[in-house]
Symmetry: C2
Subunit: 109 residues, 2 copies
Amino acid sequence: MNSAVPLTPIVHPDRGELTIEALLRALADPVRLAIVRQVANTEGEVACGAFDVPVTKSTLTHHLGILRQAGVLASRQDGTTRYNSLRRNDLDVVFPGLLDAVLAAPHNA
Amino acid sequence: MNSAVPLTPIVHPDRGELTIEALLRALADPVRLAIVRQVANTEGEVACGAFDVPVTKSTLTHHLGILRQAGVLASRQDGTTRYNSLRRNDLDVVFPGLLDAVLAAPHNA
DNA sequence: CACGTTGTTCGATGGCTGTCGTAATACGAA
DNA sequence: TTCGTATTACGACAGCCATCGAACAACGTG
């Protein structure tokens, strides 16, 4: 098992490519912020289909791509399911304290 | 002197009205991020005309309004000039560590 | 193989928003 | 009051982007 054959190879920017601007833009969307919170509140990984978001699957794919491109999420393919995890270590190195501050912020209001 | 008579009253949201989403959206723009950095690197206030940004004055006004509405900037009118300052205390209370993390981030990449 | 599941890709669309130029407003000085 | 300065207000416009539906692709199972 674990054949891992995505149609398009999954690319992850490395630490040196991360920018504060792309990160802020990625986190500034309500749907994406919800995604990040759900991943953060989950021990380990979250499958794409397991997210509780008020959008279509195609839109969800779009948001996950942006979060991955911004360096927020790492994705791993296993069969037909794609597992997402937070790149917490990398973010903490490049932008110390930022992710924690965002996650600690009041949810709405 | 110090007549302070703006055409439209300057409104500032209080702490309870600040949202992480509006804050992130406000900071996610390159021009606005530059504005925030310039205010943060200046002791005290910065007049509207003193900002070094690659946009027209009308566009600058627009960005300052968004930053004010998001609770990032406080504006004070003195004669014809409007002085802007960071609402550092308020931001630190509502979103602890966020502003510092953003300001500490690498300028570009 | 046939089917259902998972997730992506593609094209289209509507709305938001960053941008500008111009006009208008307020103030201070001459 | 007349001028110059500082800044905002008002349209208008273009580009981006979140959203969707439908089609496609890869995998697992019966």
